[in-house]
């Protein structure tokens, strides 16, 4: 039998104090990021903010600084990134966000193209792909995303509460929210654009992190039958975590393998999406060990529900 993780007796529950400091920090960061997103202060993608995105390539090499300088006059807020490893060389993504009116996007598109054409005479810029989103559509996408997040979080919480006892339900819910907020916070700090795909990633990892928690809780439920005294509650939880540790690590590994290839090979479209998932897998693994279970232990220590 080939094993990465042998039988372990790590005192996870003992380390819960240190972990809780980190977790609270992450959640605080996440709440801050959430406020920024909701108020529209964060770096929203054009799907939420509205705006123009043009992907195009020059015939000859162009320095990104020159392109920025060329567009800075008319579009001071334009975000320009170089698109590496693309079908065509010298490709760039240009984004101009937050149009004032529905018609503004079209005008921006024309002006942007003519500005570039004038600034780089003799080096034609061919548009490969273009996306224009008016303010009204941005508004719709925002409210749809909010509905999707609320609906799925409510359903997940409901399901946990049906499947588990009250305390485990609360703990699993906190762990799930912890993961979503932590990833949101980290992506915010990293300056990633908050767009529909990031929302999708956050919801996906909510489901994923819950899976981890569910597996640990299942084992705790099973093990508690064997423990008879109050003092042993923490021990039971700790050994449950240790028993499922090799499953936790292996699952995280295989998922990381595929999401990692998506991150490195998947290209621009799914780059931020896969990065958010990688963060989510790491944090989800951490939270099932250091967030969900310790909450149950702490609660039991303060207000015993079993073995009275």
């Amino acid at each position: 039998m080939f094993r990465l993780i042998g039988e372990t007796h790590i005192d996870f529950i003992g380390a819960r104090k240190i972990a809780s400091v980190l977790s609270v920090g992450l959640v605080a960061l996440g709440i801050f990021a959430l406020v920024m997103v909701v108020t529209g202060e964060a770096n929203l993608g054009i799907d939420f903010a509205g705006g123009n995105m043009i992907i195009g390539s020059f015939e000859q090499p162009v320095l990104i600084e020159d392109l920025r300088a060329a567009t800075a006059g008319e579009f001071p807020d334009a975000q320009i990134t170089e698109l590496k490893d693309f079908e065509k060389p010298n490709a760039f993504i240009i984004k101009v966000k937050r149009p004032e009116t529905e018609a503004a996007g079209r005008e921006t598109s024309l002006r942007l193209k003519s500005t570039i054409a004038e600034s780089f005479e003799g080096n034609p810029f061919t548009v490969v792909s273009e996306h224009i989103i008016g303010p009204a559509v941005g508004q719709t996408l925002r409210s749809d995303a909010q509905k999707a997040v609320l609906l799925s979080l409510c359903c997940i919480v409901l399901y946990i509460w049906v499947r588990f006892d009250f305390r485990s339900g609360i703990a699993a819910t906190i762990a799930t929210l912890h993961d979503v907020l932590a990833v949101l916070g980290i992506t915010y700090i990293m300056g990633l654009e908050f767009d529909l795909l990031i929302v999708t990633a956050l919801l996906t990892l909510a489901g994923y992190s819950l899976t981890d928690t569910v597996v640990v809780f299942d084992r705790i439920r099973e093990n508690l039958k064997r423990f008879r005294t109050r003092g042993e509650f923490a021990t039971a939880v700790n050994s449950s975590i240790n028993e499922v540790l090799s499953r936790t690590i292996n699952t995280s590994l295989t998922t990381l393998l595929v999401v990692g290839t998506l991150f490195f090979l998947g290209g621009e479209v799914v780059h931020n999406f896969s990065l958010a998932l990688i963060l989510g897998i790491l944090i989800g693994t951490y939270s099932s060990v250091f967030v969900a279970s310790p909450i149950v232990v702490e609660w039991e220590a303060r207000k015993p529900s079993r073995f009275k």
Partner: protein, 580 residues
């Protein structure tokens, strides 16, 4: 039948169904570009069918245009607001139909928005022009049978010549080339002379030329079957209607699959030269079922605009107990006098109702119409046909102005780039997981690997059978499913290992592994399904693609883990030791 057998039989049936579902996709995806081109030339209908049956690629993967329009209701009167979105959709459908897009979708979103998706079509300016323009409803007369006949027979000969030349090129390039170019010169000389012909010239020509027998074409019996090589065009046309007086009019039923081919022929420069400048071919707006096959109608119209739709008023649909559905309309002032003149001079002739160069219908003029008119849909007409007629007339009378509020143009090279990257990420990700599981859990891992491959196979089959569109986030969903569905196996295997370590027998360990792991696996799958469901309900476009692949991926992974791989493990229960 024993309990084990049903699993084998069910899985066998599913595998066969999956093969059937994926067959068209396999055929299309393994065709080279030149093969696709050849099929496009020879049998565009079959290619279209293949493209419809195969797994569809989203706009982001094959390139295309996605446009969201808003109907500017605030610019319309209260009365005109009802149906405004339907009218705009009808017009857009009309126009998009002529673009040659394999799978256009035009759907209503909310109260005032219309989403138009044109996969594979990347001429943004043309599309925008077509979609954003205000509708133009015109009334035109049909060409006479005699003229129509002559034009068709001329077209037949130039098309036959063109096709023969094309076939010649394909079969024997060297020998035929010379004869070919000679033929071309003949054609040029001939057509230059006829460059300025109008249909009245034709008439004169016809009168002096008794060789062409009009009865030949207009009275031909369908079952006789004209030679396709000699009469490439007319052999594909079936005379659609004649008036009660027994006079034929040039309107034909054309099998749906032939439309693209005929369009191509009619747009040939050689063909354009034999079609008089005051005559035009026009398609009907939509397909209809005629003699149990799907057909388009093709009309030969006089180009001159006889009347404009903007003069119509008070258009309303009624059901007459005697004659079925009728659409009433009225005319006022200037329009009434003109319409009276037009209808008075053309009694018993069909009048084509043309919306943006497509013929909605060509009803016969029964009497002179002054202020009140009525179009009788015929006793067999369905409510949908009548409603369409009403919408078309209203669209011409009360155009619904639209504005573009979202536009996404994805170039073909952008799509190709995404496919390449998505594919390489999927292949590498899958290989890494297969390798890891195979090495870590040995023979059991290999069994799980086979289950994983089945997973992907079934997932593709479901996508194909249910007609879902594959997008880049969809590919990400498949890749994520690979990682997550392995989780079921890991849970089971780790449990079996634990049980084996406690000294249980192979049989007991396998049973305990599956039993104990089931609850955890079930819970985790349900939570992911919830997420996928929420994303499906509220996600747009590409996100929906992600939700769909995730959803089916999870359901299928549950099946493969508990039916397919379980079956193999049941066989292994008798073993003394387990490779795990």
């Amino acid at each position: 039948m024993s309990k084990k057998n049903w699993r084998v039989i069910l899985t066998g049936v599913l595998i066969i169904l999956a093969f059937i579902a994926l067959w068209d996709t396999y055929k299309l995806w393994t065709m080279s570009d030149t093969e696709v081109q050849a099929m496009q030339d020879d049998d565009p209908g079959a290619l279209l069918h293949l493209q419809q049956e195969a797994i569809r690629l989203g706009l982001d993967l094959q390139g295309g245009i996605h446009v969201v329009l808003r109907v500017k209701l605030e610019e319309l009167d209260k009365g005109a607001q009802t149906d405004a979105v339907d009218r705009a959709m009808q017009i857009i459908r009309n126009r998009v139909d002529g673009l040659g897009v394999a799978e256009p979708t035009i759907v209503k979103q909310g109260n005032e928005r219309i989403i138009v998706d044109l996969p594979g079509y990347t001429d943004a300016d043309r599309a925008e022009e077509l979609i954003g323009q205000t509708a133009l409803l015109q009334f035109k007369l049909l060409e006479t049978a005699d003229n129509g006949n002559l034009i068709l027979s001329r077209l037949d000969s130039v098309i036959a010549e063109y096709e023969a030349a094309r076939r010649g090129e394909v079969s024997d390039t060297a020998g035929v080339a010379e004869a070919d170019s000679a033929g071309m010169f003949d054609l040029l000389a001939e057509s230059e002379a006829s460059d300025q012909t109008t249909s009245s010239d034709l008439m004169a020509e016809l009168l002096g030329d008794s060789v062409v027998d009009t009865a030949d074409l207009f009275g031909f019996d369908e079952e006789l079957g004209l030679n396709e090589d000699e009469y490439p065009l007319t052999s594909r046309l079936e005379l659609a209607f004649s008036s009660s007086k027994g006079v034929g009019w040039p309107s034909f039923a054309v099998a749906k699959k032939d439309r693209e081919r005929i369009d191509r022929w009619l747009s040939l420069p050689e063909a354009a030269r034999v079609i008089p400048i005051d005559v035009q071919f026009a398609w009907g707006t939509r397909t209809e079922v005629r003699n149990s096959r799907e057909v388009y109608y093709l009309y030969l119209l006089k180009r001159k605009v006889q009347f404009l739709g903007k003069y119509l008023e008070n258009i309303s649909l009624r059901r007459d107990p005697m004659s079925g559905f009728v659409v009433n309309f009225s005319l006022s002032g200037d329009g009434a006098a003109r319409f009276a003149q037009l209808t008075g001079a053309n009694i018993d002739k069909p009048l084509a109702i043309v919306l943006d160069d497509k013929v909605e219908s060509a009803p016969f003029i029964n009497s002179k119409i002054r202020r009140q008119g009525q179009i009788s849909m015929g006793s067999s007409a369905k409510i949908d046909d009548a409603r369409n007629m009403e919408i078309v007339l209203k669209a011409g009378a009360l155009p619904a102005p639209v504005e573009i509020i979202e536009k996404n143009v994805v170039g073909a090279s952008m799509g190709a780039d995404s496919i390449r990257k998505g594919f390489s990420a999927a292949v590498l990700g899958l290989s890494l997981v297969l390798l890891f599981i195979g090495l870590y859990y040995r023979l059991s891992g290999v069994i799980a690997d086979v289950g994983l491959l089945f997973n992907i196979f079934f997932l593709m089959a479901v996508m194909s059978a249910l007609g879902y569109t594959l997008t880049m986030p969809g590919i990400a969903g498949i890749i994520l499913t690979i990682g997550m569905s392995v989780d079921s196996n890991i849970l089971i295997f780790e449990r079996i290992r634990e049980e084996l370590r406690t000294g249980k027998t192979v049989r007991a360990s396998i049973d305990a592994g599956y039993d104990r792991a089931f609850v955890a696996i079930f819970d985790s799958h349900v939570t992911t399904l919830i997420t996928a469901g929420a994303l499906f309900l509220f996600g747009s476009g590409p996100i929906k693609g992600f939700a769909v692949t995730l959803f089916y991926g999870i359901v299928i992974s549950l099946y493969t883990a508990f039916v397919i791989t379980k079956q193999v493990f049941d066989f292994r229960k008798g073993y003394r030791t387990l490779s795990i």
